[in-house]
Structure formats: structure tokens, C-alpha cells
Symmetry: C2
Subunit: 321 residues, 2 copies
């Protein structure tokens, strides 16, 4: 059995078993309206995909991403840059340095941009590697990340308002003119990881830009783990790893957005945050995972809740690192 | 491709990539002595296995465990209880009720006990199901859990001494006469889940028995998630899911063991706990995972530490739920 088929499988089983299992339980009835079901749907949605429609993308023995089968012909046109055998796409083995790989891909993408194959050009480079702590294999224009299905990294902040015992979180209402998730609820602070910066530096920068949190206060933000998603989105594979931070803010702190992304800020009890996740579609997709992780870490969910162990395990994927 | 081969695969890739990847990093050198390496070895050890030596154990379409290939002949001897085709063992489809399955297995195991095939008989039943929240398929003598490779469940308590800001954990030194891990460091409280009891009830019972923590205080123990392990141990598959609890104890609380399992209690700083995990073999195997999870949740590890994302994702397996 070829190595490339291996990574396709875990999710299939996972889905299969979730869909076919009995809906009864010794612990609690798994009715569609249960809390566990309401939380579990976000785990499912953030892992929904059919990998039969994609082929893995490699550099040597390092699996870096997933390319849509329907775009394979673009890669086959360029045998000097891509090797497209055995149901996978690999960067050509002649590209032996990071610079050579980055340059070759930049040239390809410039051409594809002109042909309309890479919409939303950003002029911003993403770092591409087998995992967060590995040497970058090359750098790639951000707009092409989804075409290659590479993993992108971000930071999200659970901003706890005042005394943690009072159990209130700051949320942001996204502006109605945003291209993505207009009017949805968002974390107080969240942002993508810029190549060459450490996570806590990005967190500090975003704290100031998105909520007016001064640097000295942002320095107290605590990294408490990560969540990940691995899903199909508009015919592309989206693989995101989000570092989850908690920060206790002073009782009299009032956030102040600097970059126009946010319409207003809201203070919600943990219980109300839970209700919003369970019952509504109001929260921006990936924030649901970070907030579920927050509720678990803070002892808000019971082991006997339907899907508890699937939710905890489903928040992270070993294929996204 | 048959369904049964699917679950074999994820770990193979994971291991393969961990073993073959470059040891360098943009963030920090991955020297063998690094903190990340010292933590990562527990993730590896708790997932080390060669599933080629096992076949999956099924009831209908529910994968319940893993049976050693070298014991397959025992199952083949009993075609009225086990179906052993297509490289898997299934409970016979004629056993249509929970009671019928439990009785049939009890009869088989009584015989195997007499033949010396099931050492360490306990007269204690384990609940066997596809996942923690699913209906039990049958109940099985605890001593046979490892032969069938079924998932077992436990509760572990991180006992925080006094003010959390002082960052100290209570640990227990296991008595030197214990059959397992004599003299090793253990959690203040830990125990296996009894069928029919809820996790917080077991936690309260163990709090009293193992550390003299009164029920009113134990009620404040907070469930913060779980860790899992899926490993080969003495020719058997061990699959454990451990629910992780945190409890802040009063400054003047002194634990008091009631059941003879513990030789003494120790108070250690979080930093010292980290050092014990990273540098020593002093801590009981599964406690390392729960304590690493604790350090992550409490902001003790940095994202740029080598293996950070692998460690966070590796603490849980979607095959153990």
C-alpha cells in the first residue's frame, strides 16, 4: 500500500463511525438538540472533506499539502517544476535549495495569477513546512495556500473580563463590510502568523491593533495549547492550526479596535458563549473550536455529555501540525 | 480496501514522519537534550506499537479492540463464539443481546483462566463499548482487557497546593511493594472507572481513599479534558483514556493515604515537575501525559519549543475514545 493513501483514511473512519453509531447512550440521550450534538457539529464541520478529490503534495518524503484533482492538469503542464506520478504531486527533485523552490513557485504563480487561477493575490509570503517547528521547505504567496492545501497558523485570544470567577468573555462583532463572516461574532483578538515572528510577538501586535490592549498587558497572555481544522472549503483543502491564548483583563478595561475590522465589542458570560456555540451560527467558524477548547479547559463540560471524548480528541488533528 | 485495515494506519505515518524528519528547526535546535525532546519521548512511548502483530476485534461494525496475532488460535478454536475471517475477530452475530455476549465471554474466559491464558484474575467487570458515551456492547473480566485490547478509562487529579500563583503540585511516591511502578512518582489521586459510576463520583471516592480529601472539597475538582495512550505492552495492546482533573487545595491541606498504595507525599514546583518529566524516568508512565497536558493548559510551554504542536496533538488519539 503506498504511503500517500495513508493520510486519507483516519477521517473516513471517524466520520463513518459517527454517522453509523447508535444514537442511544448509557449516560445521556443523544437527542439532536443536546448540548453535545450542538458542540459536535463544529468538530464535524471543521473536518468535513472528501480526500478522494485531492492528491497529496510532497517535497521528497515530506507531505506538505493537498491539491485538488481538478487542478492536476495545471501541474502536469510543468514537468520541470512538478513531478505528478503515483497519484501525488511533488516538487521536482532538482530544486535542491529553499531559494530555488521559492523562486520556481513564485514564477509559476505569477503566470497562474495572470491566467486567473490564483484569485485574491496578497503579496504576502507563507512559510511552508512539514510542521510548525520544522525547517521551511519554501515560501509561498498567501493567495496560493488554499490551492496547495498547506497548513496555515494563527493566534486566537480568549479575553477574560475582570475576575475569572465572574466568568465573562469579551467578544467582537465583525464589521458588516468584511468580505469574510460579516456581522459574525469573533474573538477579542485573532490574527495570522507572519513568517519570521514568534507567536507571542504576533499576539502582542494583534492585541494592540485589534483591541487596544497595551503591550505590557498583552505580555500576560498565556498560550494554553492549540486547535486545528482540516476541511474542504470551496473546492480547496483548508488546514489551519490556531494557537489558543487566555488573558485576564482588568475589570475597567474597555477594548478599542484600531483597524476597522470590528463593529462593536460585547461582554458575554461563559454560559452565554456556550449557548451561542450550541444553538446558533453567529460565531465565526474557527472561533467555535477555540471557544469549545476554552470551555473544556475551564471545567465547563462534563465527561458524561454525549460526544465529550470525541469533541476533546476532535479539536486537534495529528495531520495538522 | 477493507475497513479493518484503516485504523491501523494513522500511527504508522505519525511514527514514520517523526523518525525521518530533519532534526533542525528555524525556531530552536532539536538537540536530544532539549525540553521538547524530553517531553516528546513520553508521547512516543505511549503510542509505540506494531499493529501488524494484532488484528482488530469487532462486534458488528463496531471496532472494540485489538487481539494479538499469536493468540488467534485460541479464538479459532471457538467458532460458535468468535468469527475469525478477513484478518479480524468478531463476536458471533448470533449473540444478539448484551447479556448473551457477556455470558458467552464469561464462559470462554473461565476456561481460559483455568488454562493459564488470563493471568491476574480480578473478579471485576469492565464495560466495553465503541466509545465512552456509547451503549455498552458487553461486560468483560478486567484481567482480559489487555488480551482484547479494549479501551479502559481512568481519572487523574492534578492537586494544586494552595494559591495557584505559587505553582506547586502535590505528588505521591508509590509504595515499594506495589506490583506496578514501585517507588515511582504518581498523581495525588488517580483511579480506574468503575462500570455504572460517573467520573466525578469515582474522582470523589478516590480523593478520599487515596489522599483523605473530603467529599465537599473533592466536589471542586474540575474536569479539564482527557489524554489517551495506545501502545504495545508485554505483547498486548493497551488503550487508556484518562480524564484530567485540576483541584486547588487549601494551603494547610496535608494528604493522607488510606489504602497503602502510597509511601509518602511530596510538594513540587511546576518547574520541578517539568524537570522530572523531561529528565527522569521517575514518574509513572501514564502520569507523564496528564502532567504534560497540565503544563500546556497552564501556559508553561512555548509554541516555539521543538515538537510543541506534535506534543499537544499527540496527547489524544481519535482511536481511543
Amino acid at each position: 500500500m503506498p504511503l500517500i493513501s495513508l493520510e486519507i483514511l483516519p477521517f473516513h473512519i471517524f466520520q463513518h463511525e459517527l454517522m453509523t453509531r447508535s444514537s442511544s447512550s448509557t449516560h445521556q440521550a443523544k437527542t439532536p438538540s443536546s448540548k453535545g450534538h450542538g458542540l459536535m457539529r463544529w468538530i464535524r464541520r471543521c473536518n468535513q472533506k472528501n480526500l478522494d478529490n485531492f492528491v497529496p503534495f510532497f517535497w521528497e518524503n515530506q507531505a506538505l499539502g493537498w491539491i485538488p484533482v481538478q487542478c492536476l492538469s495545471w501541474f502536469r503542464e510543468l514537468p520541470e517544476v512538478f513531478e505528478t506520478e503515483n497519484m501525488k504531486v511533488s516538487l521536482h527533485s532538482r530544486l535542491q535549495t529553499q531559494e530555488a523552490r521559492t523562486d520556481a513557485l513564485a514564477e509559476v504563480l505569477e503566470d497562474w495569477k495572470d491566467k486567473g487561477r490564483v484569485p485574491g493575490w496578497r503579496d504576502e509570503l507563507y512559510r511552508v513546512s512539514i510542521s510548525f517547528d520544522a525547517e521551511p521547505v519554501f515560501f509561498l504567496e498567501r493567495a496560493a495556500a488554499s490551492l496547495f492545501g498547506i497548513c496555515s497558523y494563527g493566534v486566537h485570544l480568549n479575553g477574560i473580563a475582570g475576575d475569572p470567577e465572574r466568568q465573562r468573555l469579551w467578544l467582537a462583532r465583525r464589521a458588516k463590510d468584511r468580505p469574510q463572516y460579516p456581522g459574525h461574532l469573533d474573538h477579542l483578538v485573532a490574527g495570522g502568523l507572519t513568517a519570521g515572528m514568534q507567536t507571542h510577538e504576533v499576539m502582542a501586535r494583534e492585541c494592540f491593533e485589534e483591541a487596544g490592549i497595551p503591550t505590557e498587558l498583552a505580555a500576560h497572555a498565556q498560550l494554553c495549547g492549540h486547535v486545528s481544522l482540516f476541511m474542504e472549503n470551496q473546492g480547496r483543502i483548508k488546514r489551519d492550526l490556531l494557537f489558543c491564548y487566555d488573558l485576564i483583563l482588568p475589570e475597567d478595561f474597555v477594548p478599542c479596535n484600531q483597524d476597522g475590522e470590528v463593529e462593536s465589542f460585547l461582554l458575554k458570560s461563559f454560559l452565554e458563549v456556550e449557548r451561542l456555540i450550541v444553538e446558533t451560527e453567529e460565531i465565526k467558524l474557527n472561533c467555535n473550536l477555540v471557544m469549545i477548547d476554552f470551555l473544556i479547559r475551564h471545567g465547563y463540560l462534563k465527561a458524561e455529555m454525549p460526544f465529550y471524548t470525541e469533541i476533546v480528541a476532535g479539536l486537534r488533528s495529528s495531520d495538522v501540525r
